[in-house]
């Protein structure tokens, strides 16, 4: 994991590796974003950190060894961006203790397994009953709030809340089953 100070002095990026970088970044951007969101827990803040992180990743791409664990490396960079963002904004709402920070760094090392989960999720979505599929689509369309989804589905917010939790749990179980069946991670 690079120390925070090192982030300020990146070697110049090698333009010849730009294609390689774009491929990796595009492939794992959801995993990096999920890691960032897990830390900052706010969509707006996650968007901001993600932009900062994308810049930092390219700036430091010279440090990344070809064939290495890109998502873990990228999340390590993102982790420092989160800390920097929090310091810059002077916010301390979710202060990270030393023990907690260690857990965050361990979490960064786990992100590579999420690509397989994403692939499995695609198959699980195909297997969803039509009603559940409609519900989950409605929940994530629009402004992404249960209130709007409830209005769209002409249901109570409480009912949608419970149903969405049930469907997501079903999807999570399906992903786990799929990976187990494949001997996956």
């Amino acid at each position: 994991m690079p120390p925070d100070a090192a982030i300020d002095e990146p070697p110049p990026p090698d333009p010849a590796r730009h294609g390689e970088f774009l491929r990796l970044f595009t492939r794992y951007q959801r995993e990096i974003y999920a890691y960032v969101f897990a830390l900052v827990r706010d969509w707006h803040a996650a968007d901001e950190v993600m932009q900062e992180t994308s810049l930092a990743l390219w700036a430091h791409f010279g440090r990344f060894q070809p064939g290495g664990n890109f998502p873990a490396w990228a999340c390590g960079v993102a982790y420092h961006r989160v800390l920097r963002d929090r310091r810059a904004k002077g916010r301390d709402r979710h202060a990270f203790g030393e023990q907690f920070e260690a857990a965050l760094l361990e979490a960064a090392d786990r992100t590579d397994r999420h690509e397989a989960r994403r692939d499995a999720l695609a198959g699980c979505l195909e297997k969803l009953p039509a009603g559940d599929r409609t519900l989950i689509e409605a929940c994530y369309a629009g402004d992404g709030t249960i209130r709007e989804a409830a209005a769209r589905l002409n249901l109570s917010a409480k009912a949608v809340y419970k149903a969405a939790a049930r469907v997501r749990q079903a999807l999570a179980d399906c992903v786990t089953r799929t990976l187990s069946a494949e001997g996956g991670r």
């Binding site: 827990r41 968007d47 992180t53 907690f100 989960r117 689509e137 369309a141």
Partner: protein, 506 residues
């Protein structure tokens, strides 16, 4: 009350993901994860699942309650722009605090996403159609929907999605544009830019020179970029971009009147003859009996250039349709077979018809709508209510058919197996002929067809488009039942009478 740390975590995650978590929830989440580090993988997995679903189903055309969701494009933009200038890229991408918009919408023939008309957020989201955006520096951009552009300065834009054509006047002091794959600057030029679905960017220059990264793109050249370096030459297509807003022809009247067809239907029904000999599908319709056709024209002064006639016939195996359409810009529909959407808008003929006599005439069904307490029924979702779009794809040089069924227009499919079609431009270049054979098997089934003597409903719509074949400019509707109102794709009672004649019948 939750009774296990895992269950409590699950409840907290739900509130977190739906933007309902409180400060107390955040604190509790931290405490839980510190006390039970073994919960971290479950927490990560749940958040990852949520992010994936949000990425998959989240929409970009609505203004969110909170800023959200554009990070993919914005981050990609940041990465691409880095190769040109890291600092400048970040300045371009950050929301600007300046209160006044950097540009104004000076003409609109399309639909903006809600809340964007003033450009107060320095962002244009165009759902469909065209918008002319004039930057403070004087550069004029024609944006083609669906498209999204961020105004990053008085002479700077970020095209996130869609197409645009820009004219940069000599006194504008230049113009800069970023896309996910390229950054370009211009002094005095006219050029078009398309952000493709794969993230690449096509730049086509009409006048002057555009610098894209290390490369100069000259007038008459088109180049595709997949990143800020390199670039591959592609064919220059003069019609690739809409470079000017087309003049908007309106009929007398205001507001909704302008949405009415440019004609008053003269035909209230049509007799559909039995085809003793199937027509040869070649775009030549000399063998069709004109006495069974309807003929209509738009209201003056458009009646000379915008006319149409429609033909239908049938036999035991197929439905046959043909249309002659006077059109100053014939067969220019820019939709392609593989990806085209809203294909009717680029120039088309739409035939809506019932093939089921049991649905009666008038066809007393309307589009199902749960908000109007009109649930789906076997009648309004019948497979024998057909919506057939006859259109010619210029990119694929092919006569096409889109079919959908029921008043909910379900089951949409393109060029079903067995359908043959032909399109032919008129010799004078002022119109076109379409001709199709559509097997019953390609619709509701080989046995789900009208029988001689049946009476059902039918109506026709002709759409004319702008010269680029993208935006519809006017329409004609024929074979309608007088006195009925509503949209023909909502209310089948508007459809006129279709009489299916026996062999030799008149």
């Amino acid at each position: 009350m939750t009774d296990t740390p895992a269950a409590e975590l699950a409840a907290l995650i739900e509130r977190l993901c739906w933007q309902e978590a409180t400060d107390a929830d955040f604190a509790r989440l931290d405490a839980l994860l510190v006390a039970h580090p073994d919960l971290w993988p479950a927490y990560q997995d749940a958040v990852h699942l949520h992010v994936c679903l949000r990425h998959r189903f989240g929409t970009s055309t609505r203004e969110p309650v909170r800023p959200r969701g554009r990070w993919v494009a914005r981050a990609a933009l940041a990465v691409a722009a880095l190769a040109a200038s890291l600092v400048a890229a970040w300045v371009a991408l950050r929301p600007t605090p300046e209160p006044q918009p950097f540009a104004t919408i000076t003409a609109l023939q399309g639909e903006l996403a809600e809340g964007d008309s003033s450009l107060s957020g320095n962002r244009v989201k165009l759902v469909a159609g065209l918008a002319e955006v004039t930057f403070r520096s004087g550069t004029v951009v024609v944006l083609e929907g669906p498209a999204e552009m961020t105004l990053a300065g008085p002479a700077r834009g970020v095209l996130v999605a869609g197409n645009l054509a820009a004219k940069v006047p000599a006194d504008a002091g230049g113009f800069a544009l970023d896309t996910p794959a390229a950054r370009m600057t211009e002094d005095a030029s006219e050029f078009g830019v398309a952000v493709m679905s794969d993230g690449s960017t096509v730049i086509q220059v009409y006048d002057g020179t555009v610098r894209a990264g290390e490369r100069e793109v000259l007038a008459g050249d088109a180049v595709r970029f997949s990143g800020p370096v390199g670039g591959t030459a592609v064919a220059f297509d003069p019609a690739r971009f809409v470079r000017e807003m087309p003049p908007f022809e309106t009929r007398p009247g205001k507001g909704n009147d302008q949405k009415l067809p440019y004609n008053v239907s003269t035909a209230t029904g049509m007799r559909i003859p039995w085809a003793a000999v199937p027509p040869k599908i070649d775009g030549e319709i000399g063998e069709w009996d004109r006495s069974f056709a309807w003929a209509g024209a738009c209201d003056p002064p458009f009646d000379r250039d915008y006319r149409a006639s429609g033909f239908a016939a049938y036999d035991a195996t197929a439905l046959y349709l043909a249309a002659e359409v006077a059109d100053p810009f014939p067969l220019r529909n820019r939709a392609d077979v593989a990806t085209g959407t809203e294909v009717w808008a680029g120039g088309s003929v739409i035939v809506r018809l019932s093939t089921d006599p049991a649905l009666g005439f008038p066809v007393d069904v309307k589009k199902p709508d749960i908000h109007l307490k009109r649930p789906p029924t076997p009648q309004n979702t019948s497979e024998r209510l057909n919506h057939l779009i006859l259109w010619f794809s210029r990119p694929d040089d092919r006569a096409c058919l889109d079919a959908a069924f029921g008043m909910d227009e379900h089951g949409r499919r393109r060029n079903p197996a067995g359908v043959t079609g032909a399109a032919k431009r008129w010799v004078d270049g002022r119109g076109y002929t379409l001709e199709y054979a559509i097997p019953w098997a390609a619709l509701a089934g080989a046995d789900a067809k009208p029988q001689p003597g049946d009476t059902t409903g039918i109506c026709w719509q002709v759409h004319w488009a702008d010269p680029a074949g993208r935006v519809w400019r006017g329409q004609l509707m024929e074979v309608l039942t007088p006195g009925e109102t509503g949209l023909v794709f909502h209310n089948a009672r508007r459809w006129g009478k279709a009489e299916w004649l026996p062999a030799g019948g008149k």
